[in-house]
């Protein structure tokens, strides 16, 4: 039982983790992309469709990533190059994603999906308890952790990361130093889209291998909240994602155990928890001010 709960927590946390790490990079570059939900749902529908037609989990994951990137490219062109309002453009992206995915996915409703295969790691998967809990997942779970490690390393240990953070913290100075603010931001947005697409694909290929309209159900927004929760530090995203994964899973198991709270109250827990967590984090001024990218959400137009 405990083992099973742990496994489902990992499955529930993975999409949040991946989407949030992508958005973290985007926000570190100074762009707020509120379209995570829309990019995730596109990843979910495209991933499902490709898996259904080709039968290949690998191709499905790649297609989901590309779908997320395509959506984010649209967002990037608008927000970065055409200087549109970031909040409103992100919302437009979400509305668009929900609509397009609904149209594409209409024929997928009711089709049984395919689950990503679990990786077998010789020697480790056979271990008692640790084996099934840690070493019997599909590749995306490990990719999630690799992403956190890489993001953390690149952001804080490499020149590329330094430039990215400079662009997010003071775009005018970064521009004056000769860095192409717009291009760096656009690339960051693309990275965020790839992550959101992957996270969405994971939803329809592993979390619940089927297509249901609107199946992301606010996880894109929770991922956005996780970035604030993590105060823009990659490893804290892991803590946040697992906390939320645990809350989501506990609401399922609470009913199985026989807790008599109405299911709707349990379902609303992750959203309420998000609000509470946001309040706690943001009331700590010192914590947020240190790490919040200073140019977050501000449009930059180079004067040439």
């Amino acid at each position: 039982m405990f083992e099973a709960i742990l496994l489902t927590v990992i499955t529930a946390a993975t999409p949040l983790l991946i989407a949030a790490i992508g958005e973290l990079v985007v926000e570190r570059s100074g762009v707020l992309n509120l379209g995570v939900e829309g990019m995730m749902i596109m990843g979910a529908v495209v991933g499902f469709g490709v898996a259904h037609h080709t039968g290949s989990g690998f191709l499905a994951v790649i297609a989901a990533i590309l779908a997320g990137m395509l959506m984010s490219a649209l967002f990037g062109v608008f927000v970065v190059y055409l200087a549109t309002n970031q909040v409103a453009t992100g919302l437009a992206l979400t509305i668009l994603g929900l609509g397009v995915s609904g149209m594409i996915g209409e024929s997928f409703i009711g089709i049984p999906g395919m689950r990503l295969p679990e990786l077998y790691i010789p020697g480790l998967t056979e271990l008692p308890f640790i084996g099934p809990v840690l070493f019997s997942h599909d590749g995306v779970v490990y990719a999630g952790f690799a992403l956190v490690f890489l993001t953390s390393y690149v952001l804080f240990r490499t020149r590329m990361g330094l430039i990215l953070r400079a662009v997010g913290d003071n775009h005018t100075s970064a521009h004056a130093l000769g860095y192409s603010v717009l291009k760096i931001r656009f690339l960051a947005v693309l990275f965020g889209g790839a992550c959101a697409g992957l996270a969405g694909g994971y939803m329809s290929l592993a979390y619940t291998p089927q297509w249901v309209e609107n199946m992301i159900a606010g996880r894109g927004w929770i991922a956005l909240a996780l970035v604030v929760f993590a105060s823009w530090l990659p490893w804290r995203v892991v803590a946040g994602a697992y906390l939320f994964g645990a809350v989501t899973v506990l609401t399922f198991h609470a009913q199985a155990i026989g807790v008599t709270i109405p299911s709707q109250f349990l379902s609303s827990l992750p959203y309420l928890a998000t609000v509470v967590v946001l309040v706690i984090i943001s009331s700590n001024r010192r914590l947020t001010l240190v790490n919040t990218p200073a140019c977050l959400g501000k449009t930059f137009i180079p004067d040439r």
Partner: protein, 363 residues
């Protein structure tokens, strides 16, 4: 080739008027392409989507019925957005307002007189304002991001509605269907004709009052100053926090009013879902109307048309009604791009040879 934005000396007034029109035209073109991709005749599709709903009186009434909540919510959102408060949870304020507005006819069906409807509207407005004030208070008190909190509360409100309609508020004589009891006559908005109720007149009245408030009153001046330069506003004695609370209360209140009028005129009861996303579509309405009440009135009708057009093409062409959502999303994108042209000129600079290579190397 490279695209550059050059700031205009004065923001272009022609573009300010033209930009929503251009956005609609671009949406029409995209709509035609969408129909072509779906393998349907684009011209016929556009006709069914945008023109046919305007040709008979039933759908014109339906157009006004659906535009009413959109206009009301968008008016409130405009106040929020003008003052830089990003309330995107109007859907939740709509639902919670509807709940507060309908507890009277559901829990006290015996209280049934001329006071019922006015009280419902008051409770609905207050309820919506209360729900809207939650992210407002969290923002002013704890510095919490209002975008995320207001959105999270949408999910909470819709789950609360679901719980009430399936649980304690279910119609005792309703054969276990997840619906509340049907409202009595004194709890429903008076009808003008067919499905058209007094609600639409309320919306028009709100538009007029808000237009006057924004253009003529000190409050309107305060909203615009604080939106454009909070620092300058601070020097003239305006309070940022006070205005945040004010705008969230107005937006929530109008959404709550819209929710109450929706359940007490169009639906006449509570159902597990009472809105096809009015709260989100209203965001598009607010932007298409350029955050101006009169503009919002027109934009509300345009977006309402997208709902009816979606149903129309679904019925006669077999295209998913989700196309409405796609068209709405595209419309918002185009509106935002066109707004850029109000402030900036676009210059296309041709970079001579190897420009692409040079750009690739300086990352």
């Amino acid at each position: 080739m490279r695209i550059e934005l050059v700031k205009r000396k004065n923001s272009s007034t022609t573009m300010a008027v033209l930009s929503p029109v251009i956005a609609v035209i671009l949406t029409l073109i995209s709509g035609a392409i969408l129909f072509a991709i779906a393998g349907k005749d684009p011209i016929h599709g556009l006709y069914l989507f945008f023109i046919q709903p305007l040709t008979d009186s039933w759908s014109i009434q339906e157009l006004i019925v659906k535009a009413t909540p959109l206009v009301l919510i968008a008016c409130g959102l405009a106040v929020c957005y003008l003052s830089n408060n990003w309330n995107i949870g109007a859907e939740g304020q709509f639902i919670f307002g509807a709940l507060c507005g309908s507890f009277l006819p559901i829990l006290f069906p015996d209280f049934d007189n001329w006071l019922t409807l006015p009280l419902m509207l008051v409770f609905g407005t207050l309820g919506g304002a209360l729900w809207g004030l939650i992210p407002g208070v969290l923002k002013t008190r704890f510095n919490t991001n209002e975008i995320l909190t207001s959105l999270m509360l949408v999910y909470v409100a819709s789950l609360l509605l679901d719980y009430l309609v399936r649980g304690p508020w279910r119609d005792p004589d309703g054969y276990n269907f997840p619906e509340s009891r049907i409202f009595s006559d004194s709890a429903t908005m008076p009808l003008i004709d067919g499905r058209l109720s007094v609600s639409c007149l309320v919306a028009v009245a709100v538009v007029i009052v808000l237009a006057l408030m924004l253009s003529k009153s000190l409050k309107g001046f305060e909203i615009r100053v604080m939106g454009e330069s909070p620092r300058a506003g601070g020097f003239s004695g305006f309070s940022q926090k006070g205005l945040t609370l004010f705008s969230f209360a107005i937006a929530g209140g109008l959404a709550g009013l819209a929710g109450t009028m929706e359940v007490s005129s169009s639906l006449n009861q509570l159902l597990p879902s009472i809105s096809p996303g009015y709260g989100f579509t209203a965001i598009i309405v607010a932007f298409l109307g350029r955050l101006n009440p009169i503009g919002i009135l027109i934009a509300g009708l345009v977006l309402s048309l997208s709902y009816i057009g979606g149903e129309s093409v679904q019925a006669s062409m077999g295209i998913s009604s989700k196309i409405a959502s796609v068209i709405q999303g595209l419309l918002l994108c185009y509106v935002l791009v066109c707004d850029t042209f109000v402030l900036y000129q676009i210059r296309i600079v041709s970079t001579l040879r190897s420009g692409a290579q040079k750009e690739a190397s300086d990352v």
